[in-house]
């Protein structure tokens, strides 16, 4: 796996990740996103419906949250989760958690992390975690990590512990990795933790970069956990510790405005779960990202300052500058971290429209005029409204198709904008043209 950067514009890294897959025949353009799945399937979609979409990401994300309970089945199957799920010709990336669902916290110990399958909690030691990787047989995966560092009432000590544990897990994973024949040629991404404590972020990045990893996962920055300004400041400082020539994957961040700011501070890859969340609330992505024409000349109406509509202004957490923190007493084995900053994951963002709204009852237009996805080529907003009002399964299918297509096209537009020095155009377009559906 090799990251070839063609240019860096305003902090944004444009390039190609090559040599992906066991035979090294795949590549992925950055900035980019992965294809989100649960149990190896893009939610709601069969392979036939999925492949009505062109230009899908070349890397598919699998999660242990949805696969761990099938460990025994996968071990007997012997050919990996990709073949098990009928996935062909795609690179498989395996992560610990499903980014679209938040698991209960408070089940992490020094030796284990937990995932949540349909049958409840499954505790993973490093040995079990690695046995799962062996059964799943991804092309790349991130090492086991303690990511429970939500700000608010998480102590500095707890954050430090998460960094220490994650580094220890990484070393153990790497040791087992190199001893496992079945994982030869598989890439390991190291996980950078550190919550909202700057020096812990720096330490985690610096230490992880010393290990033989193929790239980095930035954890604990997910939308529910952190305010966007704090996130970008922390990331900007953290990535300074990471080598230029290795990819950086940001976990748990998907909103287009967040994606844009994080790309500007040097993030390369995102998980593709956002379209799924939008689908689950009965919404469709409609935000504009075309930069063929000048946004100001295109008659898109009055402009609002970018932050006014999409990012709630919040003060930067004072802890970032190193305020003395209290050392709360902690349970020795199991900690229970309550939620701190929490963004409601079910809440609409300004990048989408709610098709359940009465106004779409007799709207015979497509979701997005000119969109080439299966849904927009074949169906009208009024039909989607009807499917949602009657709880029909096809609503999820059609929305997932459109939202996935729209989100992937946004990343393509972002790369085009970077290649042609039109990032500012794109940003204006994305941030001001929200929800005009």
């Amino acid at each position: 796996m090799k990251l070839e950067l063609s240019r860096v514009v305003q902090g944004c890294r444009l390039g190609v990740l090559t040599g992906l897959g066991r035979a090294g025949q795949h590549s992925l353009e950055v900035p980019g996103c992965l294809l989100y799945t649960r149990c190896g399937s893009v939610p709601h979609l069969t392979q036939d419906t999925l492949h009505t979409l062109k230009n899908l990401p070349s890397v598919t994300q699998l999660t242990l949250d949805t696969l761990a309970e099938h460990q025994e089945v996968l071990e007997e199957f012997k050919e990996g989760a990709g073949k098990f799920a009928g996935l062909h010709d795609t690179v498989l990336y395996c992560s610990l958690h499903d980014p679209a669902t938040s698991s209960p916290t408070g089940h992490i110990t020094n030796k284990t992390v937990s995932v949540w399958g349909s049958g409840g909690r499954i505790a993973l030691s490093v040995a079990k975690f690695m046995a799962l990787q062996k059964a799943v047989r991804p092309d790349l995966y991130h090492s086991m990590a303690d990511g429970e560092t939500w700000p608010g009432n998480v102590s500095r000590k707890r954050v430090r512990k998460s960094v220490d544990r994650t580094l220890a897990h990484l070393d153990e994973c790497l040791l087992l990795h190199h001893r496992t024949q079945e994982l030869a040629g598989v890439e390991v991404l190291g996980v950078v933790e550190g919550g909202d404590v700057l020096e812990e972020r720096v330490r985690s990045a610096r230490e992880t970069a010393k290990r033989p990893v193929g790239g980095f996962c930035l954890d604990g920055f997910h939308s529910a956990a952190m305010d966007q300004n704090l996130r970008t400041q922390l990331i900007a400082t953290t990535v300074k510790e990471l080598p230029e020539d290795k990819p950086r994957l940001l976990q748990g961040v998907g909103r287009p405005d967040h994606v844009l700011s994080c790309v500007e501070v040097g993030v390369d890859l995102f998980e593709g779960f956002f379209p799924f969340q939008v689908t689950e609330r009965g919404c469709a992505l409609i935000f504009a990202f075309d930069i063929a024409t000048d946004p100001e000349a295109a008659g898109t109406g009055p402009q609002a300052p970018p932050t006014a509509r999409c990012v709630p202004e919040a003060p930067v957490d004072s802890r970032i500058v190193g305020e003395l923190d209290d050392d709360k007493p902690e349970a020795d084995v199991v900690e229970n971290n309550g939620p701190g900053y929490q963004e409601d994951q079910t809440k609409m963002t300004p990048f989408e429209i709610n098709l359940k709204d009465k106004r779409y009852r007799d709207d015979f237009g497509p979701l997005v005029e000119g969109c080439g996805c299966y849904c927009c080529r074949n169906h009208q907003r009024a039909y989607l409204h009807h499917l949602l009002m009657t709880n029909e399964l096809l609503a999820g299918v059609l929305l997932m198709l459109h939202n996935t297509a729209h989100y992937c096209a946004f990343f393509t537009a972002l790369r085009v904008a970077l290649a042609s020095d039109r990032l500012e155009h794109l940003k204006k377009r994305v941030l001001m043209g929200q929800a005009r559906g």
């Binding site: 649960r38 149990c39 190896g40 399937s41 893009v42 939610p43 709601h44 979609l45 069969t46 392979q47 036939d48 419906t49 009505t52 949805t66 309970e69 099938h70 025994e72 089945v73 007997e76 199957f77 098990f84 799920a85 009928g86 399958g117 349909s118 049958g119 009852r361 007799d362 015979f364 299966y374 074949n378 169906h379 009208q380 009024a382 039909y383 409204h385 009807h386 499917l387 009002m389 009657t390 029909e392 399964l393 096809l394 999820g396 299918v397 059609l398």
Partner: protein, 414 residues
């Protein structure tokens, strides 16, 4: 599609085009083969949107969608006609909206044929507070509690708005387990309502109206209904009031009595039948068209149809089974996925249901295509024997009603 059919009809009858448009139905039935032993037949039924190869199973897309399957997927499975339910669509989104969307075809973007029911059956079966009078079916809307009357004229008006290729008359539906004077009343009323429906059809040039034979489980009432309804010049007939929990022995006798008296040159639709054995037996008894929610409904509970019955994919025994649902099946699900994967996926995502729905629709359509081919090839009785052998572990397990019914059309099972 409609124009050439009309021309054909016009030549046959030798009428002027103008007259043809006003009186000849947009339907042509060409009988390709009749089984020399049984009453089975293979036909090409030409309807406004495409020709339907019969015998045919019609999947049910109640609310203008086939349960998570896209119209392209349904088309690729070879489906030439599917159902929409007038009651549901009349309630939500309503006929006015669908009419604005260029009918149900436009609304759901389905390029093949559609059949709509009258709405009467759902009203009686789903809505507790319904009352049948000579005027129509009175019921309370489950959405806003408003009292609504569904008359024959209104049922047809809604179906005219939906623009289906085949519309069903509003009939007075009585449960097949009821007997006595109510059954006779319902039969006569259904005949009167048929006449009102015929008179109410605004689009006889592009929408076919089918009559529904009633009469409960009484041979006498069925016969009277058949005599009366076949006097009307309707493009097709349905056999109604069955498949509602009656004894199978009563069921098949009413079916075969009906096909004995229905005109040979018109299609025969047996309503609400969809189990594989029932389909094969009733084809032998002379039926051309079938519909049932069973294959798609059962799929959502994880039940996959196979030539030897069904597999409940959610059962633990399939957790490590690397085979496809049916190793001989060529559907997109069986070509790609194992029972083990479908079992696992059922725990995480609705796509598991879609995979099985696709398989089950494919199973039904493939079964009917094989039935049709065997009729054309002149070996339908052998097909039936092979089918039964595969479906049941031993002849002792053949349902006696099926053995009896097949015996009346000279198929003996060993």
């Amino acid at each position: 599609m409609a124009a050439p059919i009309l021309r054909e009809a016009e030549l046959d009858i030798g009428m002027s085009l103008k007259k043809a448009v006003s009186t000849v139905s947009p339907l042509a039935l060409r009988i390709l083969a009749e089984c020399p032993v049984t009453k089975a037949r293979a036909c090409d039924l030409t309807l406004p949107h495409c020709t339907v190869n019969t015998p045919v199973f019609m999947p049910v897309g109640t609310q203008g969608t086939m349960k998570g399957i896209t119209v392209d997927q349904l088309d690729e499975l070879g489906c030439q006609i599917c159902l929409g339910n007038t009651y549901h669509l009349g309630m939500r989104p309503g006929p006015e909206l669908i009419e604005k969307a260029n009918g149900l075809h436009g609304f759901m973007n389905w390029k093949r044929n559609l059949l709509t029911d009258s709405g009467g059956f759902q009203m009686v079966s789903l809505v507790e507070l319904s009352e049948v009078t000579e005027e129509g079916v009175k019921f309370k809307s489950p959405y806003d509690g408003k009292e609504i009357l569904l008359s024959p004229e209104q049922s047809i008006a809604i179906q005219n708005s939906l623009g289906s290729d085949i519309m069903m008359q509003l009939d007075d539906v009585v449960s097949s387990t009821v007997s006595g004077p109510r059954v006779e009343e319902a039969m006569w009323r259904s005949i009167r309502w048929l006449d009102r429906c015929i008179g109410a059809n605004k689009n006889p040039d592009r929408q076919n109206l089918f009559a529904i034979i009633q009469g409960g489980l009484s041979a006498e009432l069925r016969k009277t209904c058949l005599d009366e309804m076949t006097k009307r010049d309707v493009p097709g007939f349905a056999i109604g009031g069955l498949s509602g929990g009656e004894e199978k022995d009563d069921f098949w006798r009413m079916v075969t009595l009906s096909t004995d008296h229905l005109p040979r040159q018109k299609p025969r639709y047996l309503m609400g039948v969809g189990y594989a054995v029932d389909l094969v037996v009733c084809v032998a008894l002379g039926c051309d068209m079938f519909d049932c929610v069973f294959p798609t409904r059962t799929a959502r509970f994880g039940s996959a149809l196979v030539p030897w019955g069904s597999l409940t994919i959610t059962k633990k025994q399939f957790a490590k089974d690397p085979q496809p649902i049916d190793p001989d099946c060529q559907c997109p699900t069986c070509l790609r996925h194992s029972r083990a994967y479908l079992h696992a996926l059922f725990k995480s995502d609705t796509a598991a249901m879609h995979h099985i729905t696709i398989h089950n629709i494919s199973y039904q359509l493939t079964l009917m295509r094989s039935v049709r081919q065997s009729i054309i090839d002149g070996c339908f009785p052998d097909f039936v024997r092979t089918f039964m052998k595969r479906m049941f572990p031993s002849p002792e397990q053949y349902p006696s009603w099926a053995v009896d019914a097949l015996a009346t059309v000279s198929i003996t099972l060993e």
